[in-house]
C-alpha cells in the first residue's frame, strides 16, 4: 500500500497545496474560539511523498488523482489570544490559539503502477476525531497585502 501524500497541487501562481472550496465549508466564531471545516468529495492529488509533490518539473513520479471523500475538523478551547501587526509580512490580525481534531476519509483510485505505488488503489479511514492529536492549532481574522 506504501506511502501516500494527498495535496491540492501547486497553482500556476505558486500558491502551494491550496484548493478552492464551496462557501460555507468553514465557520468561525472568533469570540468563542471555535471553528469548523466540513468538506466532501474534494479532488486532490496523491503525490505519494511530499518530495515528489514539490519537485515540479523534476518530479520522478506522476501525480495521480485523489479524493478527500469527507473531512470534518473542529477547533475549540481557546488557550491564548494574540494580535499581529507585521510590516515585514504586510499582515495584521487577531488570533486565538486552541486545539483541533480531524476525522477524514481519503481515496486514491486504481491507477497504473508507478515507482511509488502498485496502482491497486488505496483508501484511508481515520479513527474517530477524538483520537487525533493536535500539535498546534489556531484560528483568526487577518488582512494582508493590499488589505494590510
Amino acid at each position: 500500500m506504501g506511502p501516500h501524500s494527498w495535496d491540492a497541487g501547486v497553482a500556476p501562481t505558486n500558491v502551494v497545496w491550496v484548493a478552492q472550496v464551496p462557501e460555507g465549508s468553514a465557520h468561525v466564531d472568533l469570540d468563542d474560539g471555535s471553528a469548523s471545516l466540513h468538506l466532501e468529495n474534494l479532488c486532490v492529488y496523491d503525490a505519494f511523498t511530499v518530495a515528489n509533490s514539490l519537485l515540479g518539473l523534476n518530479r520522478p513520479v506522476n501525480l495521480v488523482k485523489g479524493i478527500i471523500n469527507s473531512l470534518r475538523m473542529e477547533w475549540r478551547g481557546a488557550l491564548s489570544m494574540d494580535t499581529a501587526n507585521q510590516s515585514a509580512n504586510k499582515m495584521r490580525g487577531k488570533f486565538v490559539e486552541n486545539t483541533a481534531t480531524i476525522e477524514v476519509t481519503a481515496t486514491t483510485p486504481r491507477t497504473e503502477p508507478t515507482a511509488l505505488s502498485n496502482g491497486h488503489g488505496f483508501r484511508f479511514v481515520s479513527d474517530p476525531a477524538s483520537t487525533s492529536f493536535s500539535n498546534f492549532a489556531q484560528i483568526g481574522e487577518e488582512r494582508n497585502g493590499a488589505f494590510f
Partner: protein
C-alpha cells in the same frame, strides 16, 4: 495529509521532515510585491475565462527555508513567530525552521482579508488496498488550513472565496 508509518514499514516523508531534510539551497530571492489597487468587481467573471490562471490568488511573499523549489509558506506556529511545540509524530518542532522575528502569517494567500484556521495534527486509522482488500494501520501527519474571505487575484479583481490548504 502525509502518511508517516504503515504496518508494512513503508514510510513516506512527512511534510515537516521533508522540509527539514531538504538540502536545496536557494538564492533567497524575494521579489517585491507590487500592491494592486483593489478593483471592485466582487462577482466578476474572469475575462480570459480560464479559472485558476487569471483569477487565482497570489502566494504570500515569504519563502520557507530551505525552499524545495520555493514554497511560499510558514510552518504552523504562533503569529508572534515564537518557538513551537515538539511534534511527537515527526520527532521535530512543529516549525523546524525555528523562530521568525518578523512573525508568521498563517495564510497561504496574499492580498487576503478574512478568517483563517490552521491545525497541525497527527492522526491514525486504517488503510485498505482497493484491489486485494488488505488492511493495515496507518499514521498520518497533516497541516490543514482554511482561508475564508476576500482576495485580490492575478487580475487585480477582488473576489469572495474559501480555500483549503491540504
Amino acid at each position: 495529509m502525509k502518511s508517516i508509518m504503515s504496518a508494512s514499514g513503508l514510510a513516506g516523508l512527512s511534510r515537516r521532515s521533508f522540509f527539514r531534510h531538504a538540502a536545496t539551497a536557494s538564492g533567497g530571492v524575494l521579489l517585491g510585491s507590487a500592491l494592486p489597487s483593489k478593483a471592485s468587481a466582487d462577482d466578476a467573471e474572469s475575462p480570459c475565462g480560464s479559472h485558476g490562471i487569471c483569477d487565482f490568488p497570489l502566494p504570500i511573499p515569504h519563502i520557507n527555508t530551505p525552499p524545495p523549489g520555493g514554497a511560499h509558506i510558514y510552518f504552523p506556529g504562533p503569529v508572534n513567530g515564537g518557538p513551537t511545540p515538539f511534534d511527537p509524530c515527526t520527532g521535530a518542532p512543529v516549525d523546524p525552521s525555528g523562530v521568525h522575528l518578523e512573525g508568521r502569517d498563517p495564510s497561504l494567500i496574499f492580498n487576503f482579508k478574512g478568517f483563517i484556521g490552521q491545525a497541525d495534527l497527527c492522526l491514525s486509522g486504517t488503510g485498505t488496498d482497493l484491489t486485494t482488500g488488505a488492511h493495515a494501520p496507518y499514521q498520518f501527519h497533516t497541516d490543514m488550513r482554511f482561508m475564508h474571505g476576500v482576495f485580490v487575484g492575478t487580475d487585480l479583481v477582488e473576489r469572495k472565496g474559501s480555500f483549503v490548504f491540504v
